[in-house]
């Protein structure tokens, strides 16, 4: 696999965010998150039973660095709903517990592509 350039990675990240209503950039794969915080986020979306996409930030150092620069958020996981950056694990969890996350998801899934 050739090394993707920073620009190519950024383009890919932006496209992924636009093309998926719910996407989480996590450490590991959807079925095998390798970090507790990533697992928490994946479990939340599993529990809500909503379709969601994940990307493994460990695919390359350049990928992780480009993502963190793009969002200006120094940690992972990173969650986007309807193109909006939601935050990391603790914000996603807090919004889930307050019901705010469910509202954002409902709005996103209703919105036409």
């Amino acid at each position: 696999m050739s090394q993707k350039s920073k620009e190519e990675i950024l383009e890919e990240i932006k496209k992924d965010i636009q093309n998926h209503k719910i996407i989480a950039f996590i450490k590991g794969e959807k079925l095998m998150p390798v970090c507790g915080y990533s697992r928490t986020v994946v479990n939340i979306f599993h529990q809500l039973g909503v379709p969601f996409e994940t990307r493994n930030v460990l695919q390359s150092e350049e990928y992780l660095r480009t993502l963190k620069e793009y969002t200006q958020w120094p940690t992972t996981p990173q969650v986007f709903i309807n193109g909006e950056f939601i935050g990391g694990c603790d914000i996603t969890l807090e919004l889930y517990e307050s019901g705010e996350l469910q509202k954002k998801i409902e709005k996103a899934l209703q919105a036409e592509n």
């Binding site: 915080y37 200006q72 958020w73 120094p74 940690t75 935050g87 990391g88 603790d90 914000i91 807090e94």
Partner: protein, 80 residues
């Protein structure tokens, strides 16, 4: 390569200015995973993401250098 609770508290106080309380818990005892709860009026009226960004930017040097691997942030807006 780890951070101390006192370092984190002083960094947050310095960056945010008016802080009532900074409760820091070392989750693993290894000085690189922390739960940080910050009570401050600076959070009032700000969206949650903005509140967390303030705490994270206060600890930017720790996070970027890898001295801290993960932080769990809880922000508590309080009237000044």
């Amino acid at each position: 390569m780890s951070a101390s609770i006192e370092e984190i508290q002083s960094c947050v106080r310095e960056a945010l200015g008016d802080v009532r309380e900074v409760i820091v818990e070392d989750l693993t005892g290894g000085g690189d995973h922390f739960r940080i709860q910050v009570h401050s009026p600076v959070f009032v009226g700000k969206p949650l993401l903005e509140q967390h960004r303030l705490v994270q930017s206060a600890l930017r040097s720790f996070l970027d250098s890898g001295k801290i691997h993960a932080i769990e942030v809880k922000t508590v807006p309080i009237e000044s």
